[in-house]
Symmetry: C2
Subunit: 189 residues, 2 copies
């Protein structure tokens, strides 16, 4: 619009893998992680997303990220929200799934196969004892130096917050569901 302007591209002197945590009780944690996958594409960066917890209810990002292949890969590993009413699987089965996801992640780290690794809802998985604190810390400490790791979900563990470079807390100021508006596709899932 109007006159053309000069667009500059910032180049950091040092590239550095960051630990980013997006936590809190508000809407926009997984969503924000998806935005980082999209943004990375513009820089030609590879992102791997491992979703804990969310395996049984369709969410639009599953097909959305296919448009970003092969730069972005998404694995949904869970059997839905553990402990939520209506979810039929026992804790042991949720934990087995999450532990399998950790094996998958170990392979990704070993292969040094992405620039950004998104561990979606891993904070909840930790809170629910599907994974252990030491296991998450091991991911962070053993990752290739250039690799960003994004951890999402409520109730981020204080020790992980200490380790992180950037932490945002998404607070719910209000939410449509409190007005009994049902979740809407594209916005809520």
């Amino acid at each position: 619009m109007n006159d053309p302007i000069t667009i500059t591209t910032f180049e950091p002197k040092k590239k550095q893998g960051l630990i980013v945590i997006i936590t809190g009780n508000g809407k926009g944690k997984t969503t924000s992680a998806m935005g980082m996958a999209l943004r990375g594409c513009g820089h030609g960066l590879k992102t791997t997303i491992v979703q804990f917890m969310k395996g049984d209810l369709y969410s639009g990002e599953w097909d959305g990220v296919k448009r970003l292949a092969p730069l972005v890969k998404l694995y949904h590993t869970g059997k839905g929200f553990c402990g939520i009413e209506g979810n039929p699987y026992p804790h042991a089965e949720h934990r087995k799934n999450a532990q399998d996801a950790l094996q998958l992640i170990a392979g990704i780290l070993h292969a040094d196969d992405c620039d950004t690794l998104i561990l979606d809802e891993i904070n909840n998985a930790l809170q629910l004892k599907l994974v252990d604190l030491d296991q998450v810390k091991e991911i962070i400490s053993s990752r290739p130096e250039h690799m960003h790791v994004i951890l999402t979900g409520r109730d981020a563990h204080p020790e992980l917050i200490d380790l992180a470079d950037t932490v945002s807390e998404v607070r719910e100021i209000k939410h449509a569901y409190r007005k009994e508006i049902e979740p809407q596709p594209g916005i809520d899932f």
Copy 2:
């Protein structure tokens, strides 16, 4: 992984255009809006993004969203952050740009041309008097009933928060730049 599970898709009885505000001083507002554009793609929904303020510094989402065309369109309309050191344009020119962006938005509303309209950094544009409160309220009240409108940026106006269905405040708990780590591509821009 493991046994296959049944994936269900939620279908709201009533589809309803929501007003969503993502505000606060932390990282993850624009990013979250980009994630909603990506998520919408999975449902075949059309998203139009109008970015205020961010015209002069490259951000990865500009090329990222090209992968989502034609479902997602992005217009960056500004000449960079108004009032930020080093930005050479006077307030009047920033305001003219923002007012042109409102004309573009009026056309989008009139054509009923998307399911989700993202007004990125419009809260800042309002705060800086590049647009007026009545103009933003007019967008919200005149939109087609089915259309979601997402407003991002710091310091969301209280009257807009009152009008919104869902509001998240992204709070900075910590940020890498405070450790003098430079912005990293794919994460910060």
